[in-house]
């Protein structure tokens, strides 16, 4: 370990600060701009006002978009969790021919740009209208990324868990169902919560697929914001964005606190 008091330590510190500024700076600009007392987005903000927050909360489009996104995020998180965990259990507990290949395939959507997926899915649904446009299409599309995300979290979690603990529980008198609820589930719970939170945040924040595959009437919040940013660009957009940042922050902090408990 390099001591932080050496010259190299100071350089490292400086680099860390630069990194944080680079990553978090844009967020600060948005948050600051949302309090501006001007009719347009301004940075540095001029004056201080909460009226854009009032305007955002009063705007039916944003409110509606929020609930669409919430519904979407919860469904994607729940379904991703079930499918992804089941797949992770199969990949870690049973060795079968092609399991490594399957694992790589399962994880591959994570490396594709969302836009590529969005275009591909648009073409796919145009040719195979298996689901109506809107929520169902979006859920199916988001699962393509949500499931690999859950898999990504649960594979290492499951690999660390000793498969013998369930047998130990049965040996000590717990029926298979009891063994699952008393031992397996509690051991996996922190991983499951982290995985669900990731899938939810992904779905909630996703823009490209939502733009291409969502319906205009029930547009998720990100699509509403995207539209507003192109049309009017007043600080309401910044206010809504700030509230989203706050929500994501709260979720991440809650999840971390739970994991470190």
């Amino acid at each position: 370990m390099t001591s932080l008091r050496t010259p190299l330590g100071w350089v490292l510190r400086g680099m860390a600060v630069l990194g944080f500024v680079y990553l978090l700076g844009p967020l600060l600009v948005i948050v600051a701009a949302s309090f501006s007392d001007t009719g347009y987005l301004a940075f540095p903000p001029q004056g201080f006002s909460l009226r854009w927050y009032q305007a955002a909360l009063a705007d039916q489009r944003y409110l509606n978009g929020f609930f669409v996104s919430l519904r979407l995020g919860l469904m994607v998180a729940a379904l991703s969790l079930v499918i992804g965990t089941a797949a992770a259990v199969a990949l870690t507990r049973f060795a079968f021919p092609g399991s490594t290949l399957l694992e790589a395939l399962f994880l591959s959507p994570l490396v594709l740009p969302a836009l590529v997926l969005a275009v591909a899915l648009t073409l796919f649904f145009a040719a195979n209208p298996i689901a109506p446009p809107g929520m169902t299409r979006l859920v199916i599309s988001h699962l393509l990324v949500g499931v690999p995300m859950v898999l990504r979290v649960m594979l290492p979690v499951l690999r660390r868990v000793d498969p013998a603990i369930e047998e130990a529980a049965r040996n000590l008198g717990a029926s298979p169902i009891k063994a699952f609820f008393l031992v397996t589930l509690p051991v996996l719970r922190p991983g499951l919560i982290a995985a669900a939170a990731l899938a939810f945040i992904f779905s909630f924040d996703e823009v490209e697929m939502a733009l291409f595959l969502g319906s205009v009437r029930d547009a998720p919040l990100t699509v509403v914001l995207y539209g507003a940013a192109q049309m009017q660009m007043d600080p309401t957009v910044a206010a809504v964005s700030s509230m989203l940042i706050l929500l994501a922050l709260l979720l991440m902090v809650a999840q971390q606190m739970y994991a470190n408990r």
Binding site: N171, L172, P176
Partner: protein, 342 residues
């Protein structure tokens, strides 16, 4: 030790497709007895143990525990207490909660659980660690929690699956003596799986030597060492020189004063000197290796016919002979143990 049969394996077999993991095994374990299932990996010892625990369904045969047929009984209804090779402690539960797990499943009253857990904790010297999580314990402490968790339910039979293999050598010996003391004191009927013959010899009442799914020999440690039933047992338990005698000569021409058949000659029965070999039960060769073992010295003698003959003697052997030099090995008729014809 009483002679009542606590655990009976009656023609127990397990096949996977065309491969046989365990072939029609018969074994009776008396109350309070510790029987080791000993063999190399893949010999079927763990499969046998897991069939008794109820994790593997037998293809054939019966398992009787205290006179009751438990062959098809689900694992959680069987009265067995298993110590897993990985310990399999519940990572989210404290030491006390781990030990109490089996008692809670049995609906034991709260006050009694507390009392029995406390007794087990003091018996295993885990005082002060009750509130710790398994990951906050050393390997030896984890092993003791695993033992306590299995013993506290007072099972009809204790199943040990290589319980010492994750401990370092020094701790391993102390722990196995401790476990043997506990087992004798509490009168626990125990089935113990191991691949370590020294471990099996040290703490078992009887050893079941297994190879390729078959029970090769069942006997006390002395019986299997001094009167091995098969060539496999002779070479797996301790070290052995195996000679096939015919008309007063071994297959490679060593003159023998012994009946025809396969003979076992233990290295410690072989003495070395530098006089020429004359008559039967003596052969000269070249010293290929001298290893100091602490308690003595082991010599590997290369015979003219190509065979390596093992000899063990006092530490002073290393002074009397040198690598590459000549030596003559001798033994008596009584040192040769004949294997029963196969």
């Amino acid at each position: 030790m009483t002679n009542s049969a606590e655990l009976v394996l009656d023609g127990l077999a397990r096949r996977y497709g065309s491969t046989t993991a365990v072939a029609r095994m018969d074994l009776t374990v008396a109350a309070g007895e510790l029987v080791a299932l000993l063999g190399p990996s893949g010999c079927g010892k763990t499969t046998t143990l897991r069939m008794v625990a109820g994790f593997i369904e037998p293809s054939e045969g019966r398992i009787l525990l205290r006179g009751k047929d438990i062959t098809t009984m689900p694992a959680h209804q069987r009265d067995t207490g298993m110590v897993f090779q990985s310990y399999a402690l519940f990572p989210h539960l404290s030491v006390a909660e781990n030990i109490a797990f089996g008692l809670k499943r049995r609906g034991v009253a709260k006050a009694e659980i507390a009392e029995r857990v406390a007794r087990m904790v003091s018996l295993l010297q885990l005082q002060g660690l009750e509130a710790r999580l398994p990951k906050q314990l050393s390997g030896g402490q984890q092993q003791r929690v695993a033992v306590g968790r299995a013993l506290v339910i007072n099972p009809a039979v204790v199943l040990l699956d290589e319980p010492f293999s994750n401990l370092d050598a020094l701790l391993r010996e102390g722990t196995r003596i401790e476990l043997r003391r506990l087992q004798t004191e509490l009168g626990l009927t125990t089935l113990f799986v191991t691949h370590d013959q020294a471990e099996a010899m040290a703490i078992s009442d009887r050893i079941a030597v297994m190879n390729k799914g078959r029970l090769e020999q069942l006997g006390t440690p002395r019986e299997v060492y001094e009167r091995p039933a098969t060539r496999f047992v002779a070479s797996f338990i301790g070290r052995a020189n195996i000679l096939v005698s015919r008309d007063g000569r071994s297959e490679d021409g060593i003159p023998l004063d012994a009946p025809d058949g396969t003979l076992v000659l233990r290295p410690e029965r072989v003495t070395l000197d530098d006089a020429p070999a004359e008559g039967p039960n003596a052969v000269s060769g070249t010293v290929e290796l001298l290893s100091f073992l602490g308690t003595g010295t082991q010599a590997v003698l290369r015979l003219p016919g190509g065979r390596q003959l093992l000899a063990e003697g006092p530490a002073s052997l290393a002074d009397r002979f040198r690598t590459g030099g000549p030596a003559t090995a001798r033994w008596t008729r009584g040192d040769l143990v004949a294997l029963p014809p196969e």
